[in-house]
C-alpha cells in the first residue's frame, strides 16, 4: 500500500487520489473553501495550501504520491491561511451582521477557525452589481469568492448552465447566461443545486432572511 505522511501521520492512498482526498479519508482536516467533494477540484481559493516536500501546493489539486511529506498545521501555513482569508474579506464587502448567510457561511466559519480577528489590509469596498431581478433568487456579487461551485453545479448537476465567471484580475465577476445578463431571464429555481452550493451569501434564496435564530445556525 502506498502512503503519504500528513503532519507525521502515515496515511494510505489510492492511485489518482489528491492529497485532500486522502486527508479527508483519514479524517485529517485541511481547511478549504472552493473544494467540495463531488465536484472537480478548482484550486482557486488556495486555502488548502500545504507544504509538500518543502514546496507550497494546493492539497485539492495535488495528486498524492508515495513518500510525500505533507505539512498542514504549521505556523507558516497558519499565517498563509490567515492572510488568504483576510484577502478574501477585503476584496469584497462582507458585512456579516447584514448578511443572511451569517452563521451558515463557509468563509466566515473558515475565518473563525483560523482565529481571524481583523482585516489587517485596507478594505477595497468594491462596487459590484447586485441582481435582485428574479422573484426567488438573489445575487449579491460583493460576497462572491469565485469558487465556481455554482457554475459547475448549474452546468453539471442542474443541467441549466446559468452561471459563468468573467473579467480579469480584480475585476473578475460572476455573470449570468442570459441576453440581459439578469437572473430573471433564466430558468433558475430556488431548489437548484447551484443555489444551495454557494459557500457564501452571494447566491441567496429570497424571503428566507434570518429564519434560523442565532445559536441554531449551521456553524454556531
Amino acid at each position: 500500500m502506498k502512503t503519504v505522511s500528513l503532519d507525521g501521520a502515515v496515511v494510505p492512498f489510492a492511485e489518482g487520489q489528491t492529497v485532500m482526498e486522502c486527508a479527508l479519508a483519514a479524517n485529517i482536516s485541511i481547511p478549504h473553501l472552493c473544494f467540495l467533494p463531488g465536484f472537480l477540484p478548482h484550486g482557486s481559493c488556495r486555502l488548502c495550501t500545504v507544504k509538500i516536500d518543502g514546496r507550497l501546493a494546493s492539497a485539492c489539486t495535488q495528486p498524492a504520491m508515495a513518500g510525500q511529506h505533507v505539512e498542514i498545521d504549521t505556523e507558516e501555513l497558519r499565517q498563509v491561511r490567515l492572510s488568504l482569508l483576510r484577502m478574501l474579506f477585503v476584496e469584497g464587502n462582507h458585512y456579516c451582521p447584514a448578511c443572511e448567510k451569517s452563521g451558515s457561511c463557509r468563509l466566515q466559519k473558515a475565518a473563525y477557525d483560523e482565529g481571524m480577528l481583523d482585516l489587517h489590509y485596507r478594505p477595497w469596498y468594491p462596487k459590484r452589481k447586485m441582481d435582485a431581478s428574479h422573484p426567488d433568487v438573489l445575487i449579491d456579487r460583493d460576497r462572491c469568492i469565485f469558487c465556481e461551485l455554482c457554475v459547475k453545479a448549474s452546468r453539471d448537476v442542474d443541467g441549466k448552465n446559468i452561471f459563468g465567471i468573467s473579467g480579469r484580475g480584480i475585476d473578475t465577476h460572476l455573470v449570468v447566461n442570459s441576453k440581459s445578463g439578469l437572473l430573471a431571464d433564466t430558468d433558475i429555481s430556488a431548489q437548484d443545486r447551484a443555489v444551495e452550493v454557494c459557500p457564501v451569501g452571494a447566491i441567496l434564496v429570497k424571503g428566507r432572511g434570518f429564519e434560523i435564530p442565532i445559536g441554531k445556525r449551521l456553524y454556531d
Binding site: 458585512y95 473563525y112 480577528l117 481583523d118
Partner: protein, 176 residues
Amino acid sequence: MIRLATCSLAGCFGCHMSFLDMDEKFLGFVERVEFDRSPFTDIKSIGKCDIGLVEGGLCNEENLAVLKEFRENCAILVAVGACAINGGIPAMRNHFSMDECLAEAYLDGIGIENPQIPSDPELPVLLQKVCPVHEAVRIDYFLPGCPPPAGAFEVLLEALLKGEKPELPRKLIHYD
C-alpha cells in the same frame, strides 16, 4: 488603578451596551479600573490612559480627530466591534457616492419635509468613504462581533489587566 477610555465613532453604541452586559462582572472591573473619557462618565477630553476601547469606524473628520487623540493617549488601543474593524453597516454607504447618500437622506427620501442638506459649520465634514480604524492608526488588539459578546470584553480586559496577551477562545469569535 488602570485608566480606561472608551468612545463611539461611527458606531451605534451597541458595543458599549454589550460591554455593560457583563452585569455583575462589570462591578468587579470598576474596582480595578478608573474610567477616563467615555460615554459612561461623560468626560469629554481624554488624558493619559492605559487602555482605550474604540467602537465604530471613521465616517467624518471628528471621528478621525478623536481616534488620533486616543492613539496618542492610550498605551493599548483596542478596536471593538465590526464597525471599527471593517467599517461595518455605516460602510455600506461606500457603495454610493456622497451626493447620492446626502440626496437620499436629506432631499429625496420618503417623508422628508423642508428638504435641504445640512450645512451648519459646527457639523463635522464627512469623509468620502467610511473606513476602519486600522487604516488611520496602529491598533493593538481587535475584538470582533456586532457587538462583541460581553464575554469577549471580559476575556480581553482580564488579560490586559494581568498584563497578558488576550486570546479569544473560538466560541467567542463571531462577526455578527
